[in-house]
């Protein structure tokens, strides 16, 4: 069925047909025609962000926490370029997003017109695909293609750039038009021979370890992962982004390995005779020195993206397919097993290398805050983080028991992700408790989005681990730059409790360990957004640590 509509109307109808009911954005000149029809589409809720980066991260947080495609709107020029960090973050972590940007009118393209930026050119490396749509009649098909590309295969962000006069041009929209992408065939089931080879390796292995990556979360295969691990009694380590793909209170849960992971997890990976990688790209933070990574093991790599196979680590058994399908193929072929000796050894590693020792100190440390958050919320909150020490403490000390409850910028390492992503997660999960664990550095990169939380009455709880430092920078300058500390101290942080007050939020300050639980409970009980300013110890290095490019042999468990 074809309808004759304006470009703006086609955009809205196509979004609704894709199941979109919320978008994050900010208007501007070139995209105004689209905002001009929003009142005709009350089912399309628009959340007004305060900065386009915030809109992009909110769409990202919404997408990660719901499994739906997140949508962001921005205008041309600076509006569009402000999205770039958000797109890069989503691209690195394979998050399904569609960004719609206004562009200057068709006749002005290429003339350096006011607020003109070649955003399709600028975003080539940070999008899975992008479009500049030059005719209203192409808009519908383009939007449906974009959603198909964003959510299938290895997910990712897609940008659609629309000139101002294409929004106002009339054109046909056929919602049932067939998508024709001859160059895009995302894998489904894996080849049976690959699955057989993988199953044979699993069945004969004595010391297997499952490495669960973001692919398990993105394909929502946490139940299948648990079935497989339990059937063959295989310990599970996750990557940083694989956190919350496997319940951490499970006896087979073995933490996360790598640069700041648990020592026992890194040791388990190192001593295994088989690594079964589900949807991790063997990132350098996991692998370190590729030549010395788990040299005694064979490797199975299950991935939907063939380009990841043998990219950084050579594997014996590649399995290319959608992880959910591969689990279904693999489960019946994997024989029940007990691996008693190996699991006993893992328990021994956990006892010998506890890794998560909380410093015995009267002072308030970042670890204390995260541990208290974990205890008070019983591991039942959605957690978002920025990047740095607070992120690693959150990953180490929060016990995740719910699937898909950890949102963090892993690949891109985007400071400031924590504030807006929590807004997106809360919009997508109105009945869940969302805690954003922030560093004082990252928080100040995107704190303008607090207004978005207040305006939409989103009860996000912001925990600032405030040490007046870029803590990870302090640590690295101490370890690798002879203690030559430069530009790592924040001497003029605002009073975050007063800032909360200024935004019309609740603000709580915590300076000692004995206030922790009551303050967290008070924040949880408050029906609205809260900032809790946890004033933590100024300098506290993060361990365990495997220095960049090194191996488990150089692991520093705890120098104290």
């Amino acid at each position: 069925m074809s309808k004759y509509l304006s470009g703006s109307q086609i955009v809205c109808e196509a979004l609704l047909n894709e199941g979109v009911n919320v978008v994050f954005g900010i208007p501007g000149g070139a995209i105004l025609p689209l905002y001009g029809v929003l009142s005709q589409y009350p089912d399309l809720r628009h959340i007004l962000s305060r900065h386009e980066q915030g809109a992009a991260h909110s769409a990202d947080g919404y997408a990660r926490s719901t499994g739906k495609v997140g949508v962001a709107f921005a205008t041309s020029g600076p509006g569009a370029t402000n999205l770039v960090t958000g797109l890069a973050t989503a691209m690195m972590d394979s998050v399904p997003m569609v960004a719609i940007t206004g562009q200057v009118g068709r006749s002005a393209i290429g003339t350096d017109a006011f607020q003109e930026t070649d955003i399709t050119g600028a975003t080539l490396p940070v999008t899975k695909h992008n479009y500049l749509v030059m005719r209203a009649e192409d808009l519908g098909a383009t939007i449906h293609e974009a959603f198909h590309i964003a959510r299938t295969g290895r997910p990712g962000p897609v940008l659609i750039d629309i000139p101002k006069d294409v929004f106002t041009e009339m054109g046909d929209y056929d919602s049932s038009a067939h998508i024709d992408l001859p160059g895009y065939n995302p894998p489904g089931k894996a080849e049976e021979s690959q699955v057989e080879a993988a199953a044979a390796l699993i069945n004969e292995s004595e010391r297997p370890v499952i490495l669960a990556g973001h692919g398990v979360v993105l394909s929502r295969s946490w139940d299948e992962l648990k079935q497989l691990a339990e059937k063959a009694q295989i310990p599970v380590v996750t990557t940083l982004l694989g956190i919350s793909s496997f319940p951490e209170d499970h006896v087979l849960s073995t933490g996360f390995p790598g640069m700041h992971g648990m020592a026992y997890a890194s040791l388990a990976v190192d001593q295994a005779d088989l690594i079964i990688n589900f949807g991790s790209r063997f990132d350098d933070r996991i692998v370190g020195d590729a030549k010395r990574f788990s040299t005694g093991s064979k490797k199975i790599h299950v991935d939907i993206d063939p380009a990841e196979i043998n990219k950084s680590i050579q594997v014996e058994a590649p399995v290319i397919g959608n992880i959910k399908d591969v689990f279904a193929q693999l489960l019946p072929k994997v024989k029940p097993n007990t691996h008693v000796d190996w699991l006993q050894h893992i328990e021994h590693l956990k006892a010998e290398h506890p890794s998560l020792r909380i410093p015995e100190s009267d002072r308030l440390m970042g670890q204390h805050v995260v541990k208290a958050l974990s205890d008070v919320t019983k591991g039942d909150a959605i957690i978002t983080t920025g990047v740095g020490q607070h992120q690693m403490w959150a990953a180490q000390h929060y016990q995740f028991t719910n699937a898909n409850s950890w949102l963090s910028s892993g690949g891109a390492g985007t400071m400031g992700y924590e504030v807006p992503s929590a807004i997106g997660a809360q919009v997508g999960n109105p009945d869940k408790l969302v805690w954003s664990i922030c560093g004082d550095g990252g928080f100040q990169m995107t704190l303008m989005e607090l207004a978005t939380a207040v305006e939409n009455n989103l009860p996000v709880k912001y925990a600032i681990l405030n040490n007046n430092h870029l803590g990870m920078i302090t640590q690295w300058q101490g370890l690798f730059y002879d203690g030559d500390y430069q530009a790592e101290t924040y001497t003029a942080n605002p009073d975050f409790v007063k800032l909360a007050d200024a935004y019309g939020m609740k603000g709580i300050r915590v300076t000692s360990q004995d206030e922790l639980e009551s303050a967290i409970a008070e924040a949880n009980a408050h029906d609205g957004p809260v900032i809790v300013d946890f004033v933590i110890e100024k300098v506290d290095d993060l361990y365990p640590m495997i220095p960049a490019g090194q191996s488990v042999k150089e692991l520093i468990e705890d120098p104290n």
Partner: protein
């Protein structure tokens, strides 16, 4: 393919959608993944709306082995084959403009004849030859013509296709891979003529 100055070459054939920006997507991918394009040839293919591209890329072996897989991730790339270790035939084309006054013209024409080059333009003081073949054949003609005064040399990149026969072309030099051992490093070979 054999390492040249520590880098390896691979020949890639891709069928791509004929849309604006496709070349930018591909060249951008090559740049950010550290692939160096040694040559590139693009033209319409036998399929409507599709172009065929032949790339020769250079770089460390472990890097350039991933070119085809990375290209395949692009939505506009419909098919891509790394044909380096396949039985292929390839050609380059060159247009060579040489100073050719009456005194030396017959010698130039004689050389052109030996190399099966065609004269495609002739003036009072110069003429232009067209030659196709492997890189070394073209290099060799250019070398011989230098003494007459090269005015301009214009070369295309390599175009390549799989052979329709299982018999290897004698002079196709680089097809010496051991198919059972994909990590086998090809020996340095001569005679990269591409002619049968």
């Amino acid at each position: 393919m054999a390492p040249v100055n520590g880098t390896f070459q691979r020949t890639i054939s891709a069928l791509v959608q004929d849309k604006p920006g496709v070349l930018a997507r591909i060249s951008g991918l090559f740049r950010r993944r550290g692939f160096n394009i040694a040559s590139l040839a693009v033209g319409r293919s036998e399929r409507v709306g599709m172009s065929r591209m032949t790339f020769v890329v250079e770089g460390p072996d472990a890097v350039v082995r991933h070119v085809a897989a990375q290209l395949d991730r692009l939505i506009d790339v419909v098919e891509v084959y790394d044909i380096t270790e396949q039985n292929i035939v390839w050609r380059e084309l060159a247009l060579i403009k040489i100073a050719a006054p009456a005194a030396s013209r017959s010698e130039v024409l004689e050389l052109a004849n030996v190399y099966r080059a065609n004269v495609i333009d002739i003036g009072v003081e110069s003429l232009t030859l067209e030659i196709s073949g492997g890189r070394q054949k073209i290099d060799s003609l250019i070398e011989l013509l230098k003494k007459f005064g090269l005015l301009e040399v214009i070369r295309t990149g390599r175009v390549a296709t799989l052979r329709g026969t299982l018999v290897e072309g004698e002079d196709d030099g680089l097809y010496q891979a051991d198919a059972s051992n994909p990590t086998y490093v090809l020996p340095i070979t001569t005679g990269e003529s591409g002619s049968v």
